[in-house]
Subunit: 357 residues, 2 copies
């Protein structure tokens, strides 16, 4: 039988997250930004980038690995580009500032590229892509990450799951929004299969510790995450590493810290790009043409075993619609870690319902 989950209404959970962050010494306006970013992940069903991150953030804030009072500062602005020193501030704080610079610069130059070095985890990349697309621009967000993925043909990790996100302007609920790790699946899907005592995982997810493809969950858990489609996933991960760490001058590859690393700050780099569709075929025409493309994709006959064809962002939008109504489920371990910090900071717990999922 599955373990019970705790279910909390999203705005109560967001307020709880804010209070925990304030308990860790974060100013209210910064705490609100981080909390909004985390709840966005949960609302969209991306629980790996939701509240489960908060205990790590709070621990790193408490131990001084993240400087919760930092906004960082621009190193240099030049044409449509901006190089930013995040100075080890909260990832969401850096990202909000840098997205706003990207929006401002793209309005002047038609396109902008902002790179922040010495930054921290920025939650779901989609949140930042959408911050830019909400301003009427095509938004991109990239981040390098902790080295847990071997390059193609290797059996030792050198790269992160290095996400690629692109978001287009349009109605928030229906617009195309891509946010993908450059591995076949997120590492925590393998962890989940292992903890659920599922013996086999699909082909292509993982390798054993010798770098051989495996479908055995136990071998995969002690092994390595597989780059998406072999050399192509590695190529895309390196692309992100270049656009973030190499360009920005921050930590690269095995130099990067992590949520569970205690001897140094995470030190990732973020990059954000904004493109103004009004400079090409036109802003209005862009929206119409996106609808047309989506219709072409939806019109393809579904493959065997499927009822419909979905485009990027649709599964997450459906989750969001549902979870705004029914609340956000938190696993028992995740809930307990939040309860521990709440007790420590004397923050009252949000109302929750225990539910078998």
């Amino acid at each position: 039988m599955a373990e019970p989950f705790f279910v909390v209404e999203h705005s109560a959970l967001e307020s709880f997250a804010r209070q925990l962050l304030e308990g860790a010494g974060v100013a209210p306006h910064r705490a609100a930004l981080v909390a909004s970013n985390l709840i966005f992940g949960n609302l969209r069903g991306v629980d790996s980038h939701g509240m489960q991150l908060l205990p790590y953030y709070v621990e790193q804030l408490s131990s001084g690995l993240i400087d919760g009072a930092q906004d960082g500062a621009p190193i240099r602005e030049s044409g449509g580009t901006l190089h930013y020193n995040a100075a080890n501030g909260l990832g969401a704080v850096t990202s909000a500032i840098c997205c706003d610079h990207a929006i401002r610069l793209a309005r002047s130059h038609g396109i902008a590229f902002v790179v922040a070095r010495d930054a921290n985890h920025f939650g779901a990349a989609a949140y930042w892509g959408r911050r830019i697309s909400a301003a009427g621009l095509i938004g991109f967000a990239f981040c390098n990450a902790s080295p847990i993925v071997p390059p193609f043909q290797a059996r030792e990790p050198r790269l992160g799951t290095n996400p690629i996100c692109m978001s287009v302007p349009g109605p928030e609920e229906t617009s195309w929004l891509l946010d993908m790790a450059t591995t076949t699946v997120a590492a925590n899907r393998i962890f989940k299969a292992y903890h659920n005592k599922q013996e086999e995982i699909p082909t292509g997810w993982a390798m054993d510790k010798e770098g051989r493809p495996t479908t055995n969950t136990n071998e995969a858990f002690h092994g390595l995450v597989m780059p998406l489609g072999g050399y192509k996933g590695t190529g895309l991960a390196v692309m992100v590493e270049i656009l973030c760490a190499i360009l920005g001058g921050g930590a690269m590859s095995t130099e990067v810290g992590g949520l569970r690393v205690k001897d140094r700050p995470m030190g990732v780099s973020h990059s954000f790009m904004a493109i103004d569709p009004a400079r090409f075929a036109g802003a209005e025409e862009f929206g119409e043409r996106m609808d047309k493309l989506t219709n072409y994709l939806h019109s393809a006959a579904p493959g065997s075993g499927y009822d419909e064809v979905l485009v990027a962002g649709e599964p997450e939008s459906r989750f969001e619609k549902e979870r705004r109504e029914t609340g956000i489920p938190l696993g028992p371990g995740e809930w307990q870690r939040l309860v521990d910090w709440a007790t420590k900071f004397k923050v009252s717990l949000p109302v929750s319902i225990r539910k078998a999922m």
Copy 2:
């Protein structure tokens, strides 16, 4: 026994390509550009984007589907962006002009984005990425393509193999250079397996005509090419479709023609991006940091069955080194199609050696 191949020294083959294009009415400076682009593909072992394309180009030039005398013209230049009307000129002609605009604009604005609509096949994207990186900038090239790939969960094609290319400045022979289709493999690897009477292909390459994954070569040949890693490959292909056709206002999805389509021009859109690393951590530091990253990747222990870890561009560089010495192999069917056009245009054949491969 394998069929004999014809092997031709690369500069003789390039000169032959130029003469065939001139035979089809293309001016010498434009013919030289197209020939150089095609030979680049062959030299790097990417034969799908080499001389095998030339008979299609020549046929489309002869039937008026490509306008070999067109340079196209800018529609609008604004900040770091440029929107270009390729006016159905040769793909390489459009691309060379647009890359040069991207270089010029990135030098002023730090970043530039150029989209060309109503364009034709541009050969290997890597050639264009490198044209930009040779100018000291990070170069990107994207192109939408003929609809032969179903979106994830579908069994009808709506997207092209829509390539993503990124090239970084540095020594031509060793610099990292990614050029990948957003399908698991290029469609012609499936065709090749079929023509070679190979019964099975690896998992993940293709689907049968009902959209079910298959490893049966015959089913795959009559079926569909698989997007890279399922929904992620589709997401990347749509990203490219947006950056090219949606932004540029050109043909999208099933509206796009093709090399074998005779009732309308190809009508693809290209996009090119250039980023100046000097605006961030510095141009010199960028090169040093790229070397460091490459060293990190090379230092990973090879997985079982491999001797070494290669990065994007290395396999192609090795091909190039070898083929500059030993010449370019052409399959018997490919050779015959070239001979037919040479006969028609009274162009003398280059010296070739017949060789069993």
